[in-house]
């Protein structure tokens, strides 16, 4: 099954770590007074954020939408707007085939995603108050693996993907301090920079399906790693690259409603999930975990229109560390 959730309207509150660190420095140490250690610290934060933005912008495991943050880092003043537009999904191809003489079935699995992210940090704390640091990230990932069925209900899907991202930073200096020291910030690689990244994304999806009359209950877990390296840096001082991870644990319920609309059965359902973030992804977003409850109402098209399994609407409510919000959008699933 291949699933794609296309978010429509959403507002989320998300803690984001970024250039606001600059404004947290005591005034005498700003800009030309920044010590190498402080500059390195800021570069580490920027590096983690680039990694996190690339994953948020391009990985199919995290949904798109519009995010809003009001500086969750030690009260540092920032007002961050982030919007992510993404299209992608994952799918098992064909029916399971026997794996040699073993009582194990297998089928190829494909996964892909492409997204664009824009994030604007409106700095509020002096002396950089009024400045805006803007990130634009394009990311694309593709990969696959196989799903192995050890019973009719239990399956494992190890996969490997490659994720490419390109991030541009533009610093808009409106404050007196910013205008005065912009050239030095650029020289340090803290403003107006760009970087490309590539990541290797190994993951395993474990899934157990419980049929209950006509309803399907699916328990799944997705431990995922990201190993990222930066290249094509506009400034040699930029430091991008590191390790990230996430684990999504989910219970999905798929319930046929015995009601037909335009020749297609209505189905209801949804899921409850918890996503734990690790490494640079956690640091870069300022989020430790996110819970999501999702509801959907869809029409069953399986075996009626190409490979489309269902089409309808879905809505989510999210809450967790430094994050809460909701999203509404089209809910589309394919089965290849």
């Amino acid at each position: 099954m291949c699933r794609s959730f296309l978010a429509g309207t959403s507002v989320r509150t998300l803690g984001l770590v970024a250039l606001p660190l600059l404004s947290a420095l005591p005034a005498p140490t700003q800009a030309q007074g920044i010590s190498p250690a402080q500059a390195a610290l800021i570069r580490n934060v920027i590096g983690a954020r680039v990694e996190a933005m690339t994953i948020l912008g391009g990985d199919f495991g995290l949904s798109d939408g519009s995010f809003h943050s009001t500086g969750a880092l030690d009260g540092m003043g920032a007002d961050v707007d982030t919007s992510v537009t993404k299209v992608g999904g994952d799918g098992d191809v064909g029916d399971p085939m026997p794996l040699g003489d073993l009582n194990i079935g297998w089928q190829p699995r494909l996964q892909g995603s492409m997204g664009y992210l824009e994030s604007s940090d409106h700095l509020q704390a002096r002396p950089l108050g009024g400045d805006t640091s803007e990130l634009k990230t394009f990311a694309i990932e593709f990969g696959g693996g196989a799903r192995f069925w050890t019973s009719q209900n239990l399956s494992f899907a190890p996969t490997v993907m490659a994720l490419y991202g390109h991030t541009d930073n533009t610093y808009f200096a409106y404050s007196q301090f910013g205008r005065q020291d912009l050239a030095y910030l650029q020289q340090l690689g803290l403003a107006d920079w760009s970087v490309d990244t590539w990541s290797v994304r190994p993951a395993v999806n474990v899934q157990y399906i419980v049929p209950l009359e006509r309803a399907l209950i699916t328990f799944s877990s997705d431990p995922t790693g990201f190993f990222t390296h930066g290249f094509n840096r506009s400034n040699v001082r930029e430091k991008v690259g590191g390790d990230s991870g996430l684990v999504v644990n989910k219970i999905d319920v798929d319930i046929p409603l015995d009601v037909e609309l335009y020749g297609h059965e209505l189905r209801s359902g949804g899921y409850l999930s918890r996503t734990d973030l690790f490494g640079d992804l956690k640091e870069g977003l300022g989020v430790e975990h996110v819970n999501e409850v999702h509801a959907r109402l869809v029409l069953d098209f399986l075996n009626q229109l190409w490979k489309l399994q269902w089409l309808g609407v879905g809505a989510s409510y999210l809450w967790g560390t430094n994050i809460n919000g909701w999203t509404v959008g089209a809910d589309v699933a394919f089965r290849f």
Binding site: M97, P98, N103, I104, T150, R214, D258, E260, N303
Partner: protein, 167 residues
């Protein structure tokens, strides 16, 4: 359950050769289904009676042509088509010593959640039917015999027109 137990594997490949359990009986009759035959080969066209002869998985079958199907008047024997077919199934358990006419197919996979019934023709070809919403699928299992009663063609696409569209 231990990890070793989970990984040892107890998955079984779907098979229509499973011997059905229980006495010979009709499990369900009058099951309205819709299936897609792709490819199907046109055997004959009776324009006056609006009857289309199709060879589906090697089996010759005759269908009425639904009023909403428009693009059939220039069909000829030998044309390859993709046909959406409305059919009625009878699912039953054969006596151990098969008497009378053989079944048209046997049940391969049953998906009651999405109302899908995948059957295997005697020549090995398969087709997946979408079962009508309120038709009962209770008791149907792999290996059950299936009698297919053709009803009508409800959508039709000529393969050459599909190829032309794709180009």
């Amino acid at each position: 359950m231990s990890v070793a137990g989970l990984l040892s594997g107890c998955w079984t490949v779907p098979s229509a050769d499973v011997r059905p359990t229980g006495e010979p009986r009709v499990i369900a009759g009058g099951i309205e289904v819709v299936g897609v035959a792709d490819p199907a080969k046109v055997e004959s066209v009776d324009r006056a009676a609006r009857i289309l002869g199709l060879r589906v998985s090697g089996v010759p079958l005759y269908y009425g042509i639904a009023g909403r199907v428009r693009n059939w008047s220039d069909l000829h024997a030998g044309d390859a088509v993709s046909a959406t077919l409305r059919e009625v199934l009878t699912v039953y358990v054969l006596p151990r010593k098969e008497k009378g006419s053989p079944p048209d197919a046997r049940v391969l996979v049953v998906d009651p959640s999405y109302r899908l019934l995948k059957v295997e023709y005697l020549n090995g070809g398969t087709v997946t039917f979408k079962v009508a919403l309120h038709a009962s699928m209770r008791g149907i299992a792999a290996g059950d015999a299936v009698k297919i009663h053709p009803v009508e063609v409800i959508a039709l696409h000529r393969h050459d027109s599909i190829a032309a569209w794709m180009q």
